[in-house]
Symmetry: C2
Subunit: 232 residues, 2 copies
């Protein structure tokens, strides 16, 4: 039997749950949340999808979760859900960057790739990725910066990915319209399916973690943390 | 209120249903079919997704369906499902090529794009697309050919998309490994969400059809049609 994976992404308002069997995507569901939160549906969708492919939660062998950067609340809900499942199933967890998933969804390119995600407060999360041996690898550290600053850092001809990149196209292009390449709708946001395929197909790049060791990748401090540091 | 779209793709073994509101994807579910067929779940998933976004089937205003090329049985099931919905709802239907959806999912590129899909019998469906004003447009007609023949027709530096392209990489590359660019997992097969976003965001490119006028795009004759022609 091939390994049964369950994968969760709630790093953006469009959360998703996916089931991967071996190295193939067999089912995935995504939902754009508005009034409701990710916690309303993640476990319910996991059970639904597994039942659609003739399996149950207890048969899941490996878990995958998008660690961020992204929505603080979304990341906490996703990680908590996966932590609970990992303890119940006593199985390993693999975490992936939301930005790396976007680069992987788009596919290999010769030059640098900059996946970007909305960070609110007129800033974007991003990082530079370069494809090495079939996997996009992060060069340097992820950043959170205003689009004007990112524009000044992007080399001509760079590929930028994400719905947030497209909606900031004029600013990112700067004075030279058309100097950047933009990705398509399929790499607009990360996805649980893309995350699980990346890990399942390149398992040697991702360490197996335990439920206890999971941490969200915030890049910038949450408002709660900022408040706390000011009170010290 | 923004237009509520329901979209169906059953052109490959990984079928999907999507709900688009205005020009944004709000929910999508995909399933890799094995023993079961697309007819088992398309309508059920449509009702499920609409209920998840607080709507009902009767509120759907526009329908979208992937017309092919692809699995004959899949296309017939998808078109029949959409025909039934269109008659019940008395609403327009928009059809999109599976290959155009794959090009759109990947996003704009400067050169030619060749989305490829498994056509069984050791052949692939494909077509050449070129991006013009934000939309991938078909140059010439879709074809169904053995990968060896496609390899001899692909210009150096061309971008080829699709899981079928990746699994035929050695053959397509020919004697010069690395002469072609390959897409990522997100454009591996078409999707109902990609189809609906393409149509909803570029409505002037797609004529509104009625339920009666829907026809699958087979590219090659089905076995049933071939048998019939031999008996004439």
């Amino acid at each position: 039997m091939e390994t049964l994976w369950l994968s969760i992404d709630s790093s953006t308002p469009r959360g998703s749950v996916a089931v991967v069997c071996g190295t193939e995507l067999v089912a995935e569901v995504c939902l754009q949340v508005k009034a409701r939160t990710h916690s309303d549906y993640l476990l319910r969708y996991a059970e639904f999808l597994l039942s659609e492919v003739g399996a149950t939660v207890s048969q899941v062998e490996k878990l995958c979760v998008v660690e961020g950067p992204g929505s603080f609340t979304g990341l906490r809900v996703g990680l908590a859900t996966v932590q609970g499942l990992a303890q119940r199933l006593d199985c390993p967890v693999y975490t992936v960057s939301s930005l790396q998933v976007m680069a992987y969804l788009h596919g290999p390119v010769a030059g640098p790739v900059f996946p970007l995600l909305d960070a609110r407060k007129k800033e974007l999360y991003g990082a530079r990725y370069d494809w090495v041996e079939g996997v996009p690898r992060c060069s340097g550290l992820p950043f959170v910066l205003p689009p004007e600053t990112i524009a000044s850092l992007l080399p001509d001809g760079a590929l930028v990915l994400g719905d947030a990149a497209v909606s900031n196209r004029d600013c990112l292009d700067g004075v030279v319209a058309g100097r950047l390449l933009f990705g398509g709708v399929a790499s607009g946001v990360p996805s649980s399916g893309g995350a699980a395929l990346l890990v399942a197909r390149h398992l040697d790049h991702f360490p197996a973690l335990t439920a206890k060791s999971l941490r969200p990748l915030y890049v910038r401090a949450s408002d709660a943390e900022l408040q706390k540091s000011r009170l010290k």
